[in-house]
Amino acid sequence: MSTLTYLQAISSALRDELRADERVLVMGEDIGVFGGAFKVTDGFFDEFGPERVMDTPLAESGIIGTAIGAAVVGMRPVCEMQFSDFISCGFDQLVNVAGKMHYRQGLAVPITVRLPSGGGFSGGPFHSQNPEAWFMHAPGIKVVAPSTAEDAKGLLHAAIRDPNPVCYMEHKHLYRRVKGEVADGVFETPFTARVARPGSDLVVIAYGAMVHTALEATEDLDGASIEVLDLRSLVPMDEVAILESVERCSKVVIIDEANTTCAAGAEVAALIAERGFESLDGPVVRVATPDVPIPFSPPLEQAVLPSVDRVREACRELLEY
C-alpha cells in the first residue's frame, strides 16, 4: 500500500499499464516533454519515449480518430483531453465512429479517453464543464468517474483493459486535494457503485467530486443516519446498488456538478421513479448546477456549483418531510 493523491493514483495506473503492456500508449496535447497540463504524465516521456508518450498536434478530433485507428489494429491507446471541455472538438469521432463500431461491424474499439473535468477554479465556461451526460446518451461508450485515489487507480486499470471506448472523468478539484491508501500494482475496480458511508435515514447519491461534498454536508446532520452512495460508473449504471440504497433509506437526494437538465442524476431519478417508487417516503430531491455556462468570477461560480450548504439544506428539508 502507498499513500497517493488522486493525481498520483492516475499516474500510477498509467505507468503500470505502460510497463505491463506494450500495446498501451498515451497521447495528447503537451503530455510528453511537458508532462501534461496537470503533470499527470510527468516523467513518462523519459521512461517510455516519444512514441508511447505522444505529443500530438492540437487536434482533438485527430486524437480520438487516430486512437480509434490504432485500437482496431491492436493498440490500447489512452487519450488525454487537456480539459474535458475540449472533447466537443472530438465528439463526432467518439460518438459516431468509436461508439457505434462494435454494434455496426463487430469490431471492438478499446480506447480510454481521460477527461479532466469540473469547476471550482475560476476556469470559466471552457475549462470547468462536466460533460459526462453527453456520452451517457451515446450508445456504445462506457463512462466512469472516480472520487477516491484508490478508485482513480483501479477504475483506470479497468478502463484501459476494457474492450470498449471508456470516458474516464477525472475531477480536477480532487487531483491534489484527495489522498488515500492505494494498493500497489495492477488491480481493477469493477464498474459498480460503492457505499461511501452506510446509513438508514436518507441516501445521498453522487459521483466524482460531489461524493466529497455529500460526505462533508452529511457528516453530522442533526444525528441523522445518512448514507452516501458513490456511483463510480455512470455507464453501466449500478441499478441494483441504487435500488438497494433507496430501499434501505427511503429518502433520496441526488447531486450533480453537471448542469441539471438530463444530467446523470436525472437518469438516477428516473430509475428510482420507475423501479423504486414503493420504497420512497418522500420526493426524490436533486441538487445540481443550473443550466448556465460555468461563470468565471468566484462569487458567480460558487453561486451555481452545488455547495456543502445547499446539499445540507436539501437533506434537512427532505428529512423533515
Binding site: 498536434p57 487516430t66 486512437a67 485507428g69 491492436g74 462494435h102 469490431l107 456504445g140 474492450p163
Partner: protein, 364 residues
C-alpha cells in the same frame, strides 16, 4: 506537384504494364464488372422494394476502388467509402453477402445493423465508413501510426470525396500524417459533385495542391483508368513503406448517377455526363483486354451467373431476429484486431515477391 490527367494516365499506363500480368488486368476488369453488376442488381431490388432506405452506387467510378485496392497487401488495412464496392470484392467479400447487406438481411456484413455500403468486414482488414465524412481519414492515420510505432512494414489506405476536403478532419488527418510521416495513402475521389455541390463551390484551389503544404507527395491520376489507379497506388505504397511519408492521390472521375437513388441529377449538365460516358472505366479496360485476346464475353457471362446465384442466395437468407436489436452494443469478450484480407495481385504471390523496392511485398 500535381500532374495533369493526360500525363498521369499516359505514364501510369506505361509503368503499369511492367507490374501487371494479364491475369491481374483481368482481375481488375472482373472486380469492376462485378461491382457494376451487383450495384445494378441491387438497384433492381431497390425498385422492387427489397432494399430498405435509399440506395447509393459508384457507377462510373469503379476503377478508383478496383485499382487502388488491388495494390494493397493482405496485411494492409483499408477504410472504404460508399462508392468503392470493388475494394470489398477484392478483399474477399462474397457477392451474396453484399446483396444481403443491401437488403438488411441477417447474413449481410453488418447483420442488418447498418445499411447499403456502410460496411467493412473486419475479418478482411476493412473498416466501414460513417456518414460524417471524412472521419475515416483519421482512423486510417491512426492505423498507420500504430504500424510505424511497432516497426511493421504495412500501410493504411482510405478513400474520401471532393466534399470531404472542406471539413476539419481532412486537415487534421493530412497534418497529423505529414507531421509523423506515416505510412498512409489518402485517395481523394474527385467525382465532380458532393451531392449537388460542384467543385467551384467546394474549394478555391485543387486540393491535391494541399499535399505539398502538409509536407508530402500529391499526384493526380485518371480515376477512370484502373491500371493507372493501380500503378499510382502501388508507387505510393512503395514510398510509404520506405518511410517517405504519406501520399495524396487525387483520382479524377465522375459520379454518373445521382447522389442516391432518389436524386435525378438535374443540376448536372447533360453534356458533362455524355463527355464522361465516353471515358467509361469498364469500356476502357475491356478494350485493352480484347486487344490482348481475352474472351471478355465469357467473363461477362460468368459474372452474370455469379450475380444470379448471389441474388438467389441473398433473397433466401433470413431477416435479422428482432429480439437481437439491442445485442452487440458493447464488446463482452476480448478486443480482436482487424484480420488480413485477400490480396490477389500477382506481385504478392510470386516467389520472392517484391513490391518495387527490393523488399518482400508482405511483411513476414
Amino acid at each position: 506537384m500535381a500532374t495533369n490527367i493526360a500525363e498521369a494516365s499516359a505514364s501510369g499506363k506505361a509503368t503499369a504494364d511492367t507490374h501487371l500480368l494479364l491475369e491481374d488486368r483481368v482481375w481488375l476488369l472482373r472486380a469492376m464488372l462485378m461491382m457494376r453488376g451487383l450495384e445494378e442488381r441491387a438497384m433492381t431490388l431497390y425498385r422492387q422494394g427489397k432494399v430498405p432506405g435509399s440506395f447509393y452506387d459508384g457507377y462510373g467510378q469503379e476503377a478508383v476502388s478496383a485499382g487502388a485496392a488491388f495494390a494493397m497487401g493482405p496485411e494492409d488495412r483499408l477504410c472504404v467509402l460508399h462508392r468503392d464496392l470493388a475494394a470489398h470484392l477484392i478483399r474477399g467479400v462474397s457477392p451474396a453477402r453484399v446483396l444481403a447487406q443491401y437488403m438488411g438481411r441477417a447474413t449481410g456484413i453488418t447483420n442488418g445493423r447498418d445499411g447499403n455500403v456502410h460496411f467493412g468486414d473486419w475479418q478482411l482488414g476493412c473498416v466501414g465508413m460513417v456518414s460524417m465524412l471524412p472521419d475515416m481519414m483519421l482512423v486510417a492515420t491512426g492505423m498507420a501510426m500504430a504500424f510505424k510505432l511497432r516497426g511493421e512494414r504495412r500501410c493504411a489506405l482510405t478513400w474520401f470525396g471532393d466534399g470531404s476536403t472542406s471539413r476539419g478532419d481532412f486537415h487534421e488527418a493530412m497534418n497529423w500524417a505529414g507531421v509523423q510521416k506515416l505510412p498512409v495513402i489518402f485517395i481523394l475521389e474527385n467525382n465532380q459533385y458532393a451531392y449537388s455541390t460542384p467543385l467551384d463551390k467546394q474549394f478555391a484551389v485543387d486540393p491535391v495542391e494541399r499535399a505539398a503544404a502538409y509536407g508530402f507527395v500529391g499526384v493526380t491520376v485518371d480515376g477512370n483508368d484502373a491500371e493507372a489507379m493501380f500503378e499510382a497506388t502501388r508507387a505510393a505504397r512503395v514510398r510509404v513503406l520506405q518511410g517517405d511519408g504519406p501520399t495524396l492521390i487525387e483520382a479524377v472521375t465522375m459520379r454518373m448517377h445521382g447522389h442516391a437513388a432518389h436524386d435525378d441529377m438535374k443540376y448536372v449538365p447533360k453534356e458533362q455526363v455524355e463527355e464522361w460516358r465516353k471515358r467509361d472505366p469498364i469500356d476502357r479496360q475491356e478494350t485493352r483486354l480484347r486487344e490482348a485476346g481475352v474472351d471478355v464475353d465469357a467473363l461477362r457471362a460468368e459474372i452474370k451467373a455469379e450475380i444470379d446465384a448471389a441474388t438467389a442466395d441473398a433473397l433466401a437468407s433470413p431477416m435479422p431476429d428482432a429480439a437481437t436489436a439491442a445485442d452487440g452494443v458493447f464488446c463482452d469478450g476480448e478486443a480482436e484486431p482487424l484480420r488480413d484480407g485477400q490480396a490477389p495481385w500477382s506481385g504478392f504471390r510470386a516467389e520472392g515477391a517484391v513490391d518495387g523496392d527490393g523488399q518482400p511485398a508482405v511483411a513476414p
